[in-house]
């Protein structure tokens, strides 16, 4: 009896390890499989999914952990992206290394976050939402218009010819050659983003299970009680805001180097809203849920893009409605349906699920 028990207790961690190993293997070969099936375009989508995971996890600190509704989060992404574009492109002819820019980008975004948060974090929920939304729009409008009187951002045309990220002197834009076969840059960036994303996940998990994580959740649950426990709610909220922003700043820099081009169009309110949807739809405050949300919301529109036109053709013999619009209608429908049937998100934390079942 005792023998079987001990065998069981040994086999469990082994199973878990096997699971992790399998996951790691899947992550390692993912671009090759995806590239084989869907072509290079899909590897790029995979890269974007990784970027969005980083963004969503950053916003999750603000919205999911600390319960602060931020509708202008993409502004921090923009700050990181433009910083990279200005310091590593032909625009001013500076060519600073990505490894110097990325930390500066994180700090700068952090600084912007603190600047915005310091006077506004005392505002109640939806007022804060509007202020952050306004901030996001202000940042975008400046980027759109700062080509005069002095050409800082090159206005709506954006900045192109941005240097790629180099790892140990090897420009990732050159792609990778493996077993005599060449794979384009999206494969190389995949691994860079994967490493960054895993780091972000690690940091989030560590933060969640710390003194700070507890304080954030306490504030989300009951701000007055949190104060009465000696938590300086203003500072702790500010910290959530600034940390979340810094994640956005890093992701923005990576985006810039990967894309080689930035313009204000990438940083509209709709983008902020999308990242928020990833967080809420996945399961606010629950790291695996947020990751799932980011992956689904990046991939679904692309799948719809591929599927819709052939489907229309086979049904009606021709393209009846604009596929781009139809795709977005279906996407919107998906958002609504998921929320109606799973109000706490697709993969909420155990506790949130209980809370919802209690209320029902």
């Amino acid at each position: 009896m005792s023998k079987t028990l001990s065998a069981k207790s040994h086999s469990l961690p082994a199973k878990v390890w096997a699971g992790y190993a399998l996951l790691a293997l899947a992550l390692l070969v993912a671009p090759f499989i995806v590239g084989q099936v869907g072509g290079n375009a899909w590897v790029r989508i995979l890269d974007f999914a990784l970027l969005y995971i980083m963004l969503a996890l950053g916003l999750n600190i603000v919205v999911g952990f600390a319960g602060l509704l931020d509708l202008g989060y993409i502004a921090f992404y923009a700050v990181g992206a433009y910083l990279y574009a200005l310091l590593a492109s032909a625009h001013f002819d500076y060519h600073v290394s990505a490894w110097i820019i990325l930390p500066i980008g994180a700090l700068l975004a952090c600084f912007f976050g603190a600047m915005l948060g310091a006077p506004t974090l005392k505002l109640r929920g939806d007022y804060l939402a509007v202020v952050t939304l306004g901030f996001g729009e202000i940042v975008r409008l400046f980027m759109n218009n700062l080509d005069r009187p002095f050409n800082l951002t090159n206005g709506p045309q954006g900045i192109s010819g941005i240097d790629p990220v180099s790892v140990a002197g090897y420009g990732l834009n050159k792609g990778i050659t493996l077993f005599g076969q060449h794979f384009p840059s999206s494969y190389a960036y995949y691994y860079l983003f994967l490493v960054c994303m895993l780091l972000v996940v690690f940091v989030c998990i560590r933060l969640e299970n710390s003194r700070l994580g507890r304080a954030w959740v306490a504030i989300r649950e009951d701000e007055i009680a949190a104060q009465a426990m000696g938590i300086n709610t203003r500072n702790v909220k500010l910290l959530a805001f600034a940390l979340g922003a810094s994640f956005g700043g890093v992701a923005g820099g990576l985006f810039s180097g990967f894309q080689g081009f930035v313009s204000p169009e990438s940083f509209t309110l709709m983008e902020s809203v999308m990242v928020l949807c990833m967080v809420v739809l996945g399961g606010m405050g629950h790291i695996p849920g947020v990751i799932l949300g980011a992956i689904l919301l990046t991939i679904t529109p692309e799948v719809l893009r591929e599927v819709i036109n052939p489907l229309q053709r086979s049904l009606f013999g021709r393209s009846v409605v604009d596929p781009e619009n139809l795709r977005m209608v279906l996407f919107g429908l998906a958002l609504v349906l998921v929320m109606l049937f799973r109000p706490a998100g697709l993969w909420p934390s155990q506790r949130r699920r209980e809370e919802l079942e209690d209320d029902a």
Binding site: S210, L212, E221, G230
Partner: protein, 256 residues
């Protein structure tokens, strides 16, 4: 160190046109249970909120160990050594009992962002100690077996005791309890009474708002009676019980 812990003088608080507190003065000695009683709407909770920094007093002085608390934010007052519970329980409902208490250890932990991320040995030790201390406090108030249950699932009496454990975790010199016995049955009240005495004997001064007159008269060393925002009587339970103003406030003026 003098034997006065908290001294409030001529505290005033006005809401709109209503004088919720009018020149209330009280002195809480160290190591006692100090009761605050009075009819509904007398201003007891308002005074609590002033002492714990949730409201800003319109006038008067408030000192803990001779240090002024006027104008301090609630979290600063906690650091000075005043902790509280709430009349309508305000736990962090979706955290476990143990996590609730751990939150209150916030000011006694040091880990910042980098400490949280890299988790050096000092932080690991700190976290382990915090976890152990939380458990100890839960056992102290008698709900050690509930440590891993989510706070909102606890019974009413256990929630009240969890609030006390949580407040104790901030290591207060003055523990302010707002109607801790409300909604408890006689057995639970008896255990609570013993717990409060135990807390005092272990060196924490208690400030107690309570409606259960039997409980208050039974355990308090000193009392203040509030009525319509004014302090109408002060003294030992024996003195207060005989005070005509108190009798009239509680039973109506004709009985006096």
């Amino acid at each position: 160190m003098s034997d006065v812990l908290l001294r409030a003088e001529k505290i005033g608080k006005v809401f709109g046109g209503l004088k919720a507190l009018h020149d209330v003065s009280l002195t809480i000695p160290r190591n006692c249970i100090y009761g605050l009683i009075g009819p509904n709407g007398a201003g007891k909770t308002t005074l609590f909120n002033v002492i714990t920094g949730l409201y800003k007093a319109d006038g008067g002085t408030l000192e803990l160990n001779g240090k002024s608390l006027i104008g301090c934010k609630p979290h600063t007052i906690v650091r000075c050594g005043v902790a509280r519970t709430f009349q309508n329980i305000r736990l962090f409902g979706h955290m476990t009992a143990q996590e609730n208490v751990m939150v209150a250890r916030h000011t006694h932990l040091k880990a910042g962002v980098f400490g949280a991320i890299f988790r050096p040995p000092a932080v690991r030790r700190e976290e382990a100690a915090c976890r152990a201390e939380a458990l100890r406090l839960l056992q102290y108030v008698g709900i050690g077996s509930q440590a891993n249950r989510v706070a909102r699932e606890l019974s009413y009496g256990d929630q009240r005791r969890l609030e006390i454990a949580r407040a104790l975790a901030t290591e207060p010199q003055l523990l302010a309890l707002d109607e801790p016995a409300a909604g408890m049955n006689p057995t639970e009240r008896e255990t609570l009474k013993n717990l409060l005495l135990q807390i005092r004997n272990d060196g924490t001064t208690l400030l107690l708002i309570e409606h259960d007159v039997k409980l208050v008269l039974g355990i308090c060393d000193q009392l203040s009676v509030l009525n319509f925002g004014q302090c109408i009587a002060q003294g030992t339970p024996e003195q207060v019980r005989r005070d005509p103003a108190v009798i009239s406030a509680y039973l109506g003026s004709s009985a006096a």
